[in-house]
């Protein structure tokens, strides 16, 4: 690729890997960073200014739990002054009260609260935090009172897929604008726990029908964003809207990544913020150039009419399932490995000790230095 890439629209800032929850499908890497590896306040502030200057319009403040950064209000304030739209992606634990009020005062636009279950029991068991559900409800209600946009994020897997109708009720009762029914992506921790988490096909089909009915019924009331699990898809998702195309990720230590799981691809080397200007890293860092555009593609992607629609799907999944990060994502029906995914689902269902109703499957819970 010799073309100069367009400026990015969005940036996901993983401010920390620390988190009060231990969800067994966390999208953070298995190799979680401790607090002493996190970038200092002034580095983040410099990074946010550079991002705004190069054209980033939305910043997703995430983690881990971003609330654990005491300088979060400073970040929101700096981004708001630069005209950047801020999304707080949070567990909601410890958010309600003075903290959320301060964040709203600093210019926060949107809060996305994850609910591990649609009821307190499931939320407590999946996130391993007994008081989490009540905390989340309080944070969500306060967000609405403060006039912030509210999204309820529902990470879906075998043990809560039956709760999709309850999630819809929950989002309505909280006055949320958006509900994300997000079937978890099997990378990192979710890949490690895949056999305990993959739902069966009948549940997936039932879920799709439920969402379709609710969407039609709730036009103008609640927007439902539906992310299907790759394992049940016909075509892959355009991961990150295309590698190095619209968005990028910053890890807690300042590593500039094309996607949050990119570090699972061992052939890639990532630049750290501070080594040179962010715009230069975005433009020509080898990790961004590796899978940008379509020149890297092999067949059947290379001549596929969908190549500039799904951009080859997920590189990390291609590596995990096909053993080659440049291979066609096996989620695609045109991948020679697509059929193997169905086998994988069958295997997961037959070997897990946890059943649909049983929430105490022997997960590897997310913890620093436990993978």
């Amino acid at each position: 690729m010799t073309e100069v890439p367009l400026p990015p629209i969005a940036m996901l800032a993983e401010l920390t890997h620390r988190c009060p929850l231990q969800c067994p499908y966390c999208s953070n890497p298995l190799d979680l960073l401790k607090a002493d590896r996190e970038m200092a306040t002034e580095c983040w502030l410099d990074l946010f200014q550079q991002a705004a200057d190069m054209g980033v319009l939305q910043v997703h403040l995430s983690g881990g739990e971003p609330m654990l950064r005491r300088d979060l209000e400073q970040f929101v304030s700096a981004l708001a002054h630069a005209g950047v739209y801020t999304n707080l992606i949070t567990s909601g634990v410890g958010l309600a009260g003075a903290r959320l009020e301060a964040l709203a005062g600093a210019g926060l636009d949107h809060v996305q609260v994850s609910f591990q279950g649609a009821n307190a029991e499931t939320t407590a068991r999946i996130g391993r935090h007994s008081g989490a559900h009540a905390n989340k409800l309080a944070a969500a209600r306060q967000a609405r009172e403060l006039g912030l946009a509210l999204t309820i994020n529902a990470p879906i897997h075998r043990h809560n897929i039956a709760q999709v109708p309850d999630y819809i009720e929950l989002a309505l009762s909280l006055g949320a604008q958006r509900l994300e029914i997000a079937n978890i992506q099997y990378a990192g921790w979710a890949l490690l726990n895949r056999r305990h988490l993959l739902p069966d096909r009948a549940s997936i089909e039932h879920q799709a029908a439920t969402v379709e009915e609710a969407r039609a019924r709730l036009v103008g009331v609640l927007e439902i964003d539906f992310v299907l699990a790759d394992h049940f898809a016909t075509y892959p998702k355009p991961c990150m809207g295309g590698w190095g195309r619209d968005a990028f990720v910053i890890a807690p230590d300042g590593a500039v990544l094309p996607c949050h799981a990119a570090a699972t691809i061992p052939s890639l080397r990532f630049e750290r913020f501070g080594s040179r200007p962010l715009a230069d890293i975005w433009r020509d860092s080898p990790a961004f150039e590796a899978f940008r555009g379509t020149n890297w593609m092999l067949e059947p992607c290379r001549s596929c009419e969908r190549r500039e629609f799904d951009w080859g799907g997920c590189r990390c999944q291609a590596l995990a399932l096909a053993g080659d990060a440049a291979a066609t994502d096996p989620a695609c029906v045109r991948s020679p490995l697509h059929a193997a995914i169905a086998t994988l689902v069958e295997e997961a269902l037959s070997t897990s000790e946890g059943t649909g109703g049983d929430l105490i499957a022997p997960y590897a819970f997310r913890r620093i230095a436990s993978a």
Binding site: Q58, G83, Y85, N87, D109, A149, T151, V219, V221, E223
Partner: protein, 98 residues
């Protein structure tokens, strides 16, 4: 099920305004107006921008149609239909309040 915020429909008396969490701003990098909203960025065309800039919560739909008809030297009935459809679509996306 209780829905305390039913779907809103465009009427002559509607006072359209951007939802409090939606921001319309000029992007100097791309030299274009952008609508910033949860998880999404929209790039309205010239007519869409003219409509959105009139969504101030004070201008009734009927007045908005008249001023746009004058500005575009177009038939009022046609503008009425087009602007009504535009606002309904944006209200259904929860970006505009009616």
């Amino acid at each position: 099920m209780t829905v305390d915020r039913p779907r809103a429909f465009v009427s002559r008396q509607s006072l359209p305004r951007l939802a409090p969490y939606v921001r319309l701003r000029f992007d100097p990098v791309r030299h274009a107006w952008a609508v910033l909203s949860p998880e999404r960025v929209f790039w309205p065309d010239a007519i869409g921008l003219d409509i959105l800039q009139r969504c101030d919560g004070k201008t009734p739909f009927s007045v908005m149609v008249m001023s746009l008809a004058l500005e575009y030297d177009a038939d009022g009935g046609e503008i009425d239909r087009d602007v009504g459809a535009f606002l309904q679509q944006w209200a259904d996306r929860l970006l505009v309040r009616l």
